[in-house]
Symmetry: C2
Subunit: 141 residues, 2 copies
DNA sequence: TTTTCTTGTTTGTACATACAACTAATTGTG
DNA sequence: CACAATTAGTTGTATGTACAAACAAGAAAA
């Protein structure tokens, strides 16, 4: 169609990976003010907003495998942001005051991230792209 | 806009990651017939089609960092698909017969991958999404 | 010509994520 | 009720990728 310096750019797998890597980089820059990368920040947000939430629900919301979620929680527990309480076969995850304190900063970083890519891509365009990508991810899942 | 079971789905970073993971999974399934995952297959394609190509160019085409490309090449060299020839400060990468033999299989896998997601997303839709994503990745880079 | 700068590549290390196998708790069934 | 099946979570291990630092070759400057 138009100029394209890689013959792979017509492959969704390739493009999706490329965008993911670029976004992760930008994200990490914006979330630096929180002292952690965006996955951890998303995790804290989730737990802050629903204390006692279970890993299973987190894994669904974040679209990550349970094992990955366990790993994320472990690290945040180690760093003093989260606590686990085992209840029967389930686990409840709670934020510590440290995590709640950080909440505003996380939200700020999130807003900054949005502002940054929205400016580069155009707000309309960015929102549409995000929605389209999300829908595709859901369809292919 | 419409129903959305995660509050993060409006975040490009989040959606892009999700799509990337889903696509990687599908890709790995399709590329299984080649005995390697898609990144390696893309690498072999690149080298097969331009024997002697340098890591720098590969890294640009694949949108990966040079260190990542070194790692990919190393592994393919170890498995007997590629050979490196050091020329001055640069490196030339050549395919072995084993890699050239595999070329058709790789292309087949690539076609199958395309067929698979094109069917699920719709051909038009898939192509447009791919182009949009690639463009966004370029813009944000 | 010697020194400094730049560029291409590699190496050490780290991180996010996944899968497969496992444990433990609950639910369903004979 | 006891045993099988399911479900929630965790652990061992592996993979793809990156950054920062090191290295080595060539180019530019002194």
């Amino acid at each position: 169609m138009e100029k394209c310096d890689s013959k792979y750019c017509s492959c969704l797998q390739f493009s999706a990976n490329a965008l993911s890597r670029v976004m992760t980089k930008i994200s990490d820059e914006e979330f630096a003010i929180t002292g952690m990368s965006s996955s951890y920040a998303f995790l804290l947000m989730t737990v802050n907003e629903k204390p006692g939430v279970q890993p299973k629900e987190i894994s669904q919301q974040m679209m990550l495998t349970p094992s990955t979620v366990t790993r994320l929680i472990e690290k945040m527990e180690y760093r003093g942001f989260l606590e686990r309480k085992h209840v029967g076969r389930t686990t409840e995850v709670y934020p510590t005051p440290k995590s709640l304190d950080l909440h505003p900063k996380i939200q700020e970083a999130w807003r900054n991230l949005y502002a940054r890519y929205a400016e580069l891509l155009g707000k309309e365009n960015a929102d549409k792209l995000t929605a389209d990508i999300y829908e595709a991810a859901r369809t292919l899942e």
